[in-house]
């Protein structure tokens, strides 16, 4: 059986894998940037030299209409509401919390915004968001014992301090890198997130950026950022770059990363106005 190595435009390599793996990944839209292929991991040829692979990539053609697929996902949510958490996550009754959680992670990933194909229709994005929220809320209920069917089994003691049981999309990290080497960041701006734009002295809405606390992202990291605004239909898509990287070793600097946004004057004004409206009186953003 022939084994293949595939090399992407960014130089990363996958292999050796069989034709079936490539077929499956291509069908899932995960191999769209293959540049070269090898059958020994040493000598590389353009993808076009391998007709059996070239025909597969890109393969996913989006059968069915977006509206139809979205409707199907919503029908699935409706059907799931009638089932128990164990049935939904496909684990036996009496399964331990860790087992339920592992099954939840397996199931919910399919609907995570970062796992949807690039340019997925809005209807599908919304329906997947609803499914993600349904499953996340259910997992939170199981985790906190609010389902009436608490998992059994023995749950081992936590490895470290247990993180808060938050299962929303924003809790999932390891951002996918786009084909151009940048990261995709989606940020919903509302009362709970406005502090990202107001708390840091140097990187804030006044200077055209925001600060991500506790997460240390390498300086210079480029990002494709999509901002949505609670109660406002506008969507702001822009580029950003990490301009502050603080590991927290300096007590005068909070641990985290500051991101500078590339905004037009009109975009900056809108963002400042929106943030100002969300900021409690007496708390001004630090400029």
């Amino acid at each position: 059986m022939t084994r293949y190595w595939v090399r992407n435009e960014d130089g990363t390599v996958l292999g050796p894998v069989g034709l079936m793996v490539i077929k499956d990944l291509a069908a899932a839209g995960q191999l769209s940037s293959i540049k070269e292929v090898s059958v020994d991991g040493q000598k590389w040829k353009p993808l076009g030299a391998f007709p059996e692979l070239n025909a597969l990539v890109p393969a996913a053609s989006g059968a069915g209409t977006a509206a139809g697929e979205a409707e199907q996902i919503r029908a699935e949510i409706k059907a799931l509401r009638l089932k128990s958490p164990h049935e939904i996550f496909g684990v036996p009754r009496g399964a331990g919390l860790n087992e339920v959680r592992a099954a939840f992670f397996e199931k919910v990933k399919r609907y995570h915004p970062q796992r949807l194909p690039r340019g997925a229709p809005r209807e599908i994005q919304e329906a997947c968001g609803e499914m993600f929220k349904f499953l996340s809320d259910l997992m939170l209920a199981v985790q906190t014992g609010r389902t009436g069917s608490a998992p059994g089994g023995r749950t081992p003691a936590p490895l470290a301090h247990t993180p808060p049981p938050m299962f929303g999309a924003e809790a999932f990290v390891g951002l996918l890198r786009g084909a151009n080497g940048t990261y995709q960041v989606n940020l919903a701006l509302g009362p709970k997130t406005v502090e990202l734009f107001t708390r840091h002295k140097l990187v804030n809405v006044q200077t055209g950026g925001f600060f991500i606390p506790d997460r240390v992202i390498p300086l210079g990291t480029a990002m494709d950022i999509t901002l949505t605004f609670q109660g406002d239909p506008r969507v702001l898509s822009t580029r950003g770059k990490v301009v502050v990287e603080s590991a927290g070793q300096d007590p005068r600097q909070p641990k985290g990363s500051g991101v500078q946004l590339n905004l037009s004057p009109a975009e900056r004004t809108f963002l400042q106005t929106f943030v100002s409206a969300l900021t409690p009186k007496g708390e001004k953003s630090q400029g």
Partner: protein, 126 residues
């Protein structure tokens, strides 16, 4: 991880951001954390430090994660390697398992998902 002896983990990912995220996530466990940005470096660090567990990306420049996995397992048949990848297909999971991976986590990952997987792997150690 007060009730466990100190363990050594090797984080292998060409993406500095992911290494940073995993380091932040695993630091509170008290494990000693090593890092490598490619397969060759991972193999060298494994040879030198014999970590108790490896967290391994699959798509990396030059040497892929699957090649690194095979090389590490050839060096140490008992190596515990958890794959953390943005690629997700059942056939690929089977390939990774056949090469000796003890688990497969798809990016983006939830902190508890990785902590649970690491805990399970380390709990099985003598």
């Amino acid at each position: 991880m007060a009730n466990m002896p100190a363990r050594r983990l090797l984080i292998v990912d060409d993406d500095a951001l992911v290494r940073s995220l995993l380091r932040d996530l695993l630091s509170p466990t008290g494990c000693e954390l090593l890092e490598a940005a490619n397969g060759a470096d991972a193999l060298e660090r494994y040879r030198l430090h014999r970590p108790h567990m490896v967290l391994l990306d699959l798509m990396m420049p030059q040497q892929s994660g699957l090649e690194a996995l095979e090389a590490i397992r050839a060096l140490d048949a008992n190596a515990r390697v958890l794959v953390i990848s943005s690629l997700d297909a059942e056939s690929l999971r089977k390939s990774a398992a056949a090469a000796g991976a003890i688990g497969y986590v798809v990016k983006p990952f939830h902190p508890m998902e990785v902590l649970d997987a690491v805990q399970r792997a380390l709990a099985a150690l003598p």
